[in-house]
């Protein structure tokens, strides 16, 4: 997470004070929960929910579609595919900051690992039904 934030410093600028809050990502199709502390550049994995300021719950496909700008966060929420609890302002700040950053998860992982992951992502994404990269 620290590497992504270093490449996209505007995320922290947009989140302002909300970056110091802890946001729990709860995907039932992942084996663990993810706790974000954006200001510390920290993402930690947990088996049980740790103390947190806000939480977003939903399937991985919904998170990835939102991250890659294919689906609207409010529409996912209105339709019940995402649920939020706790500090709503922190959730909005994170969502808006990530939307503006136009992240491409595959490109971020490629930069991190120095491996050409795009062909693998293009092959795997449709099979898994997941948005693994940002369309042009």
């Amino acid at each position: 997470m620290a590497a992504i934030l270093a490449r996209h410093p505007d995320i922290l600028t947009r989140m302002a004070g909300h970056a110091a809050l802890s946001i729990l990502i709860d995907c039932p199709d992942l084996p663990c929960l993810v706790l974000l502390r954006p200001d510390l550049g920290r993402a930690t994995l947990h088996r049980a929910p740790p103390p947190h300021d806000a939480a977003i719950a939903g399937r991985l496909s919904a998170f990835l579609s939102m991250l890659h700008g294919e689906e609207d966060g409010d529409a996912l929420f209105f339709s019940g595919r995402l649920q939020i609890s706790g500090n709503t302002a922190a959730v909005l700040a994170l969502r808006n900051a990530l939307d503006d950053a136009e992240l491409d998860l595959t490109a971020e992982l490629s930069a991190l690992t120095r491996l050409p992951l795009a062909p693998l992502a293009r092959a795997l994404g449709p099979r898994l039904g997941l948005s693994l990269y940002r369309s042009a």
């Binding site: 939102m66 700008g69 609207d72 966060g73 019940g80 302002a89 808006n96």
Partner: protein, 325 residues
Amino acid sequence: MDLVCPAGTPASLRAAVGAGAHAVYCGFADETNARNFPGLNFSRAEMAEGVAFAHAQGVKVLCAINTFPRAGQQAIWHRALADAEAAGVDAVILADLGLLDHARCHHPGLRLHLSVQAAAANADAIGLYAAAFGVRRVVLPRVLTVEEIASITREVAVETEVFVFGGLCVMAEGRCALSSWATGLSPNMNGVCSPASHVAYADTPGGQEARLGGLLIHRTPKGAPAPYPTLCKGCFTSGDQTGHLFEDPVSLDAMTLLPALKRAGVTALKIEGRQRSRAYVTEVVRAFRAAIDAVEAGRPLPAAQLQRLTEGQAATTGAYAKTWR
């Protein structure tokens, strides 16, 4: 007719331009604009970059400075006007009388649009804004019928702009105190209606509860469409009746009325949603640009599937064709 599109972030501005906007509206990241939400809006540098990007594609940028300056703090709003002009915006969208006067006196080259927040809903009021401050366009409140819009457009010498899609404010905008009553913060003064900082969702045995300032606004069955908790679209119990007293939690979609709005003489069609994502902006702008092009060419309206993007997963033509209960 011009399509005026929302941009809460630079990425959304680029998305709107790419999807076919004729103009984009946006605001600075402070209380000077009516969408002062966490993580949204533009720094001064981002505004200048956004204007340059849009102009390179032949798209205009309108800067919303449409809240009402607080006593003793007018300098914040005056600075926003000067910075918008320096960034090269094509117009500023204002609501406050004092700020309109300041703009007319100190920034005579700036084109002035009257914000919906001014709630100017008749020809006499609009005529006064035009005569006194040189306002060139008025954004009409979302409480008028198409016939009333046509009547106003015939009577006034300024352009008219109407909302055609997105969040539906059903109150006299700029004068609504419901958000202030529940949270102490309002779109008029702070740029936030029902601010997220005062919103709480919780799963309960009775369903998902949405509260605003501690007040229970909605309780929906788990998995059912969940509206954002605003008082005007809240669920109330009165006597033995429970329901949405003022308005259902729905969004505006006036696409089918575009031919009628063209006949009414409307200059610009506005999409609400600066707080929404670039995915929303792309899809809605693309659909409405195709619809406008069809209307202008005399073709039938194309089919659009925008309902899943709306609050409550339901849409209305609002007051444009309202049957009041």
